[in-house]
């Protein structure tokens, strides 16, 4: 658990920085050839930051755009907005998978965990949206 947190901790800068060389070296060193190497720290940072960036951007754009479209069509803006949020979470998740693959050329096992985390988040929002747009 501490380890996971630790990894998560180094993943955070990845959201903000591109993967530095030293990080890439460290990862490569830990990976066994022929296996799907988990991203090294720098890669993790890169993947995390990238995912986060994607998620944030999508979260800021999609709900509004979809809400505006709904408003223009005379439909419920709240539903549309939550739809946007949902799509933004999904998009972030997709971004995580995509970037991980791009970095690792494979899908490390740990990715599933992160995908699950985001998926859970999506589910939680989904439940919340259902409740919030119920009326």
């Amino acid at each position: 658990m501490l380890k996971t947190l630790h990894k998560a901790a180094w993943l955070l800068p990845a959201l903000f920085f591109s993967m530095p060389a030293w990080a890439q070296e460290a990862t490569e060193a830990a990976c066994v050839e022929g296996e799907c190497c988990p991203p090294n720290t720098s890669q993790q940072i890169f993947i995390g930051v990238g995912t986060l960036f994607t998620g944030i951007v999508a979260l800021f754009l999609l709900p509004r755009i979809i809400e505006r479209a709904a408003i223009n069509k005379g439909r419920s803006p709240l539903s549309a907005r939550h739809t946007g949020i949902s799509l933004a979470i999904l998009l972030a998740n997709l971004g995580l998978v995509g970037m991980t693959y791009a970095v690792t050329n494979c899908f490390p096992a740990k990715l599933l965990i992160w995908v699950g985390v985001v998926g859970a988040l999506w589910l939680i929002h989904g439940v919340y949206a259902l409740v919030a747009t119920r009326n």
């Binding site: 709900p63 223009n72 005379g74």
Partner: protein, 1313 residues
């Protein structure tokens, strides 16, 4: 020596001086001006003559109204207000007719007066009971029935009405501005036109003149009378004898009042005492100076109308005619009088003057030779006026389909109520909603929005502006709903009174002001379109009709009423939908502000969406209400259009009527005038082409000329708009008609130069006017001269004065020659042809007539006018009066008809009027002898006076005391003084009998101790007191005073002279006679007595003449006055009082008092005898008749009932019981039975079948208490009582007599019942 002599200015007439005076008058006259004139038409003749004058004015001036001229027509015949009472009246005749202010229809409640005559003493004083006889239910509405006294009675009853009409007319003419170039300063001229033959005119003309004189007393005027004599109707009226008799009576009266004062008491307060009545008395007879007859009475009206018209014409002709009128007036007071010489009290001869026959009469003649230019001008005038009316309405009868298509939409746009697609001039299309936009206007609010729709938009924007606040405060719904509520408040509930919001109120207000505005603007739009070429009034009418149809079209065809209704439903639906949308979008907006990651932008966008729904909703709501109000507005506009349409319809109808009128007016002038006095030369022009010289023949050219004329005419009339036209046509339609015709008239006639510029532009040369184009001289020059000579002969012969002079001068050569004037009016005084015409005309003068024409300039080239006047002749100068068929013969026959005398005069004392015709020398002698016998008989008690009618103490008739046998005396009724004198002039047997009686009575007097000296004393009294000679001033010159006596005075003077001679023969010296006079005058009351038959009866008497007026002083006059007063005090003579009730002295006629003398022994003094009978027959009751007289009366009316009574008889008997009567009747030849007409007869309700009038009369007389009724088909459905049927009453005689004998008092009549 007695003879006729002349007096006054005419006797010293100098033709040369007179001509100079006339010339000077003409030179100084104001040409073209006329005096202020009041024209009064009395009766049918007056009305017709004035109507002809009005016709002339229309023909010559284009209008009947002239400033300073007023008309007044009065008649009992209601029909005479209009020229053609029996035919359907043309509009032209309507124009000639008098209007309400100019006409007095005289009516009277005759029965109210006649049945209560005692309450009308001022009428009773002159009323003749025989005037109406049994015709109490007389229908006055058809005229006075040629009954002159009836006409006078009507005048009395209408006097106030007439007086107020006179005052009104006077005000009308004197209110005119004297600065008007045509009105002459000076006296007002009043002309009375009347016929003397009928009832109304001849019965009123004297009272009317007196009323005018007394009403306008102190005002500056002259009064002329123009009177038509009966001869005019000789060939035209079957009742000529009555007309002739009326005419003579009227003439006699007007002649009498030329030298006597006219006195009338119209009611308790109004009276007149005037002289003279008329300044000029103009007479028109049926025969003229050349014995030419007037073939048609209409010619008399025409000649009077033409003569009056001369006053209003321009040129010198008018001045000459007026000059004659003014200059000849001085001769109208000249006279022919009867002069005689009598011996005065001093024994010296005195020249005394009896009746005067004033040369107060005038007659004239007027004929014309005319080219019918005026008729053609009037024909063309109305033709032109009709064309102008057609031009005023060019759409009328044209192709209006294009007009409507072209102008309908533009009309609605200009009027402001168009809704639909509008195609601009450049071909672009646009939708226009003028009604909606007008109703959506918003004014006076705090917003900048000019319409409610803009305001809604503003409110939508305001809602958007709240977005941020809503977003932050998460109060979108609350705030938006609040905003919605605010707007809802602005709108309110427009269909709930009192709950309307500002917008609803604004829309309603807009609707009202909008409709008002359309109403205001519509006339201008109508006017605007009317003026467009090819539209006109009818075009506008068609446009409006089409608009009305357009407003009714369904919603899918036009955007008007039905569309607005349809739109209303749609907008209601829209509003609902928009509201739902609004609510939904508002919810969305609210959501946009809530939840995770809300966006302000999106919220604003959502709010904008909602606000659009908000705006849509309110627009729909407002539009729905606007549609509802729009329907009302269009309904109101439709009403406004209908009003306009009605108004235009009225105008169109007026125009069409006007056109029709003008057509009829025009047709009136299509026919030539039929008259022998006004001769039309044959016409050379076609009526249809008369306007071509002015309008041209080409349609466009005609149109242009007409537009020019019409435009100028309407501007002059200040009729710029249809509204002006409408107000003229509706309020003053006739005025407009006349004005337009007048414009046409003057356009054709031209100006004073005879040229007209009405049809050409200002810079073009004027054209010759109508009269210049169609002149008489030009027409005459084209004719063969023999024909022209024939026409001139007719002109001369028919233009002479309409009086035929009497061939016989009763005055033995003393009659004054009237002044003769003659003028030939001709427009062009120069030129060879004119000289030739004039020379021919002068050559036509017959030697026996003094009418030598003078050439006078006129302004009228269409006619030659021949005017003649005979001034200053006496009434007896008129030939029509004399001869077997003359007026006098008819008068005598009807007035003295023994069976049914006619009431011809306006006064029952007609016999006191001066004779109209002077007596010839032989007649004078006969009359003088008659007077002498009459005087002597009265003085000797042979003729006594008695009451003429019951209850009248003023009037007397005379009765003769006659010795029927050696011992008996009978009383014989002689009638009024005039009748006695007539009989004493002509009845030889009567003269002989009376002469014998007089001689016998004188002998009786001598036998009784009297002598001729006594008779001389009595004659002195009669000469000096009863028939005094007085000094009078001649009217012709106030400084000339002469002694006015009478034939009566002459007769009594002759008697006195004869008795003086006999007294001298008896040995009485002058000294003795003088002493005897003093003695006998001092005891006059003892030896003389009034000539009445019994004490208390009226006696003829004469007023005491003041000493200063007496020609001779008589020292015994105070003594005589004392004796008369003594007679009065003794009760033998009635008191006499003046108007104020003061005692006055009148000298009664006195006779010898036989009781003062010793009667002769052998003659019983006037013992009443059984041979004197009371008599009651068809002519009334008489007393003292002899059997022979009764026989005469029975022979005169053999079918009537004659009853007699004598003293000692038990009751009345039939006259046939007298042997004398029986024998007399037996010796008479058998007359054919004549029982008169037959009637159905019923007595006391039971029908007795058809009986003759005589049989019914007998039955009715036998049973006076029963109800006798008769019927014939002429009575219609009414049975009449026998008293109402003249044919029966004339056979009935007097009311039945009772059995009671009469009282012994011979004065009182025997009791009748």
């Amino acid at each position: 020596m007695s003879q006729y002599r002349t007096g006054g200015k005419l006797s010293s007439f100098n033709a040369a001086e007179d001509r100079d005076a006339l010339q000077n008058y003409v030179e100084s006259a104001e040409h073209g001006r006329y005096p202020r004139t009041l024209l009064i038409g009395l009766g049918g003749t007056g009305a017709k003559a004035l109507q002809h004058l009005r016709r002339m004015k229309i023909e010559r001036f284009g209008t009947v109204d002239l400033p300073g001229v007023a008309y007044l027509s009065m008649d009992t015949d209601l029909q005479s207000a209009r020229p053609e009472a029996t035919k359907e009246q043309s509009p032209y005749e309507d124009l000639v007719s008098f209007d309400e202010t100019q006409r007095i229809n005289l009516s009277a409640n005759l029965n109210a007066v006649l049945e209560n005559m005692a309450r009308h003493p001022h009428i009773k004083e002159w009323w003749d009971d025989s005037a109406l006889d049994s015709k109490r239910n007389f229908d006055l509405g058809k005229g006075a029935g040629q009954i002159r006294p009836l006409s006078r009675l009507v005048f009395f009853q209408n006097r106030e009405l007439i007086q107020s009409a006179l005052e009104r007319s006077w005000s009308d003419i004197t209110a005119q501005n004297l600065d008007d170039g045509r009105i002459q300063k000076g006296k007002v001229r009043i002309v009375v036109v009347a016929g003397l033959a009928g009832g109304t005119g001849s019965g009123m003309f004297l009272d009317l003149a007196a009323l005018i004189r007394s009403s306008f007393s102190g005002r500056d005027f002259e009064l002329d009378g123009m009177f038509v004599l009966p001869g005019v109707y000789k060939g035209a009226d079957t009742k000529y004898p009555k007309l002739a008799a009326n005419g003579y009576a009227a003439l006699r009266e007007i002649n009498h009042y030329q030298s006597h004062r006219f006195q009338a008491q119209w009611d308790h307060q109004a009276s007149a005492d005037v002289a003279p009545l008329y300044n000029r008395t103009v007479l028109i007879s049926g025969t003229n100076a050349l014995s030419e007859s007037m073939s048609d009475p209409a010619d008399a009206y025409r000649v009077i109308g033409e003569q009056l018209f001369l006053d209003f014409g321009g040129g010198r002709m008018k001045s000459w005619v007026e000059g004659v009128r003014v200059n000849r007036e001085q001769y109208l007071t000249s006279f022919v009088g009867y002069d005689y010489v009598v011996e005065g009290p001093d024994g010296k001869p005195r020249e005394t003057h009896a009746e005067q026959y004033k040369t107060a009469f005038v007659s004239f003649g007027l004929s014309k030779l005319v080219y019918p230019s005026w008729r053609l001008l009037n024909y063309a005038k109305f033709d032109l006026a009709a064309e102008m009316v057609r031009l005023l309405d060019p759409g009328h009868g044209g192709q209006l389909g294009d007009v409507i298509t072209s102008w309908r939409t533009r009309f609605m746009v200009e009027a402001g109520f168009y809704q639909g697609t509008l195609v601009d001039e450049d071909g672009s299309r646009s939708r226009v909603y003028q009604v909606r936009d007008a109703l959506a206007q918003q004014k006076g609010t705090r917003t900048s929005a000019s319409t409610i729709f803009e305001h809604i938009q503003e409110l939508g924007d305001e809602l958007n502006a709240l977005s941020e606040e809503m977003f932050h405060e998460k109060s979108t719904e609350e705030m938006a709903k609040e905003h919605f509520r605010h707007v809802r408040k602005l709108f309110g509930d427009p269909y709930s009174a009192g709950n309307e919001g500002d917008w609803a109120l604004q829309i309603s207000k807009n609707r009202e002001s909008y409709v008002r505005k359309v109403r205001e603007v519509l006339p201008d739009v109508v006017e605007n379109f009317r003026r467009r070429r090819g539209v006109g009034i009818t075009g506008v009418r068609e446009i409006l009709t089409s608009i009305l149809e357009e407003l009714e079209r369904p919603w899918d065809k036009a955007l008007f009423i039905d569309w607005l209704r349809h739109m209303r439903t749609e907008k209601q639906r829209d509003a609902e939908e928009a509201k739902t949308e609004w609510e939904r979008l508002l919810r969305n907006t609210h959501q946009a502000s809530k939840g995770l990651l809300p966006s302000g932008d999106n919220h604003r966008a959502a709010l904008e969406m909602a606000s659009q729904a908000f705006v849509r909703h309110w627009r729909a709501r407002v539009t729905e209400y606007i549609c509802a109000e729009g329907v009302d507005a269009l309904e109101a506009i439709r009403r406004v259009i209908r009003d306009q349409l009605t108004r235009i319809d009225a105008i169109v109808a007026h125009m069409q009527e006007l056109e029709g009128w003008y057509g009829k007016f025009r047709d009136h002038f299509a026919e030539p005038v039929s008259s022998t006095l006004f001769i039309e030369v044959p016409m050379r022009h076609d009526l249809k082409t008369l306007l071509e010289p002015y309008l041209g023949t080409d349609a466009a050219q005609r149109r242009e000329a007409l537009e020019l004329l019409l435009g100028r005419a309407l501007r002059r009339m200040k009729l710029d708009t249809l509204t002006d036209l409408e107000s003229q046509l509706s309020g003053e339609r006739d005025r407009f008609r006349d004005k337009l015709a007048s414009e046409a008239f003057f356009a054709l006639k031209g100006d004073e130069t005879g040229r007209t510029a009405a049809f050409v532009n200002e810079d073009s040369e004027p054209q010759p006017g109508f009269l210049e184009r169609y002149s008489l001289l030009a027409a005459l020059e084209q004719m063969p001269y023999e024909d022209v000579t024939g026409l001139l002969k007719q002109l001369y012969d028919k233009g002479l004065p309409w009086i035929e002079p009497t061939p016989k001068d009763p005055t033995g050569g003393a009659t004054l020659e009237p002044v003769a004037d003659a003028f030939l009016g001709i427009s062009n005084l120069e030129g060879r042809f004119v000289e030739q015409l004039f020379s021919t005309f002068k050559g036509l003068q017959p030697h026996k007539l003094p009418f030598r024409p003078q050439k006078v300039g006129t302004n009228d080239p269409s006619e030659l006018v021949f005017f003649t006047e005979w001034s200053a002749f006496a009434a007896y100068f008129i030939g029509e009066v004399h001869g077997a068929g003359g007026l006098e013969a008819h008068y005598e026959r009807l007035l003295y008809d023994p069976v049914r005398p006619s009431a011809l005069h306006i006064h029952t004392d007609f016999h006191t009027f001066q004779d109209m015709v002077p007596m010839e020398e032989q007649e004078v002698r006969w009359t003088e002898r008659a007077w002498k016998l009459f005087h002597q008989a009265q003085m000797l008690g042979l003729i006594c006076s008695r009451r003429r009618r019951h209850g009248d103490d003023e009037r007397v008739s005379f009765t003769r005391r006659r010795r029927s046998t050696a011992l008996d005396v009978a009383w014989e009724e002689l009638g009024v003084e005039a009748t006695v004198l007539r009989n004493l002039s002509s009845d030889r047997a009567f003269i002989q009998a009376l002469t014998a009686d007089i001689e016998r009575r004188i002998q009786d007097l001598m036998d009784a101790g009297g002598d001729h000296a006594d008779l001389v004393c009595l004659a002195d009294y009669w000469t000096t007191c009863v028939y005094p000679v007085v000094n009078i001033s001649e009217q012709s010159g106030a400084s000339v005073v002469k002694a006015a006596g009478s034939l009566e005075n002459l007769a009594i003077s002759e008697i006195r002279k004869e008795w003086l001679r006999k007294a001298a023969a008896e040995g009485t010296t002058p000294e003795q006679l003088l002493a005897r006079r003093v003695q006998r005058m001092g005891e006059l009351a003892k030896w003389t007595q009034p000539i009445h038959k019994a004490s208390g009866l009226p006696v003829p008497s004469s007023p005491d003449v003041p000493d200063e007026l007496r020609v001779d002083e008589w020292e015994l006059l105070p003594t005589v006055r004392g004796q008369i007063e003594h007679l009065t005090r003794s009760g033998e003579l009635r008191e006499s009082r003046d108007e104020l009730g003061r005692l006055t002295l009148r000298f009664p006629r006195l006779a010898v008092r036989w009781s003062a003398f010793k009667p002769p022994q052998d003659v019983p003094e006037f013992q009443e005898s059984a041979q004197s009978y009371w008599y009651a027959g068809p002519q009334g009751k008489e007393q003292g008749l002899s059997a022979a007289q009764i026989l005469t009366r029975v022979q005169q009316a053999p079918k009537a009932r004659h009853r007699i009574f004598a003293t000692g008889w038990p009751g009345w008997k039939d006259a046939n019981e007298l042997e004398t009567v029986r024998e007399g009747l037996a010796s008479a030849p058998d007359a054919p039975p004549d029982d008169g007409p037959s009637f159905h007869y019923a007595v006391d309700g039971a029908r007795k079948g058809q009986l003759s009038a005589q049989e019914i009369a007998d039955l009715a007389s036998a049973a006076p208490g029963s109800a006798h009724k008769v019927w014939t088909k002429n009575f219609g459905r009414t049975w009449k009582t026998v008293e109402q049927v003249e044919e029966i009453t004339s056979l009935m005689g007097p009311p039945p007599l009772g059995d009671e004998p009469p009282p012994l008092d011979e004065e009182e009549p025997p009791p009748l019942d």
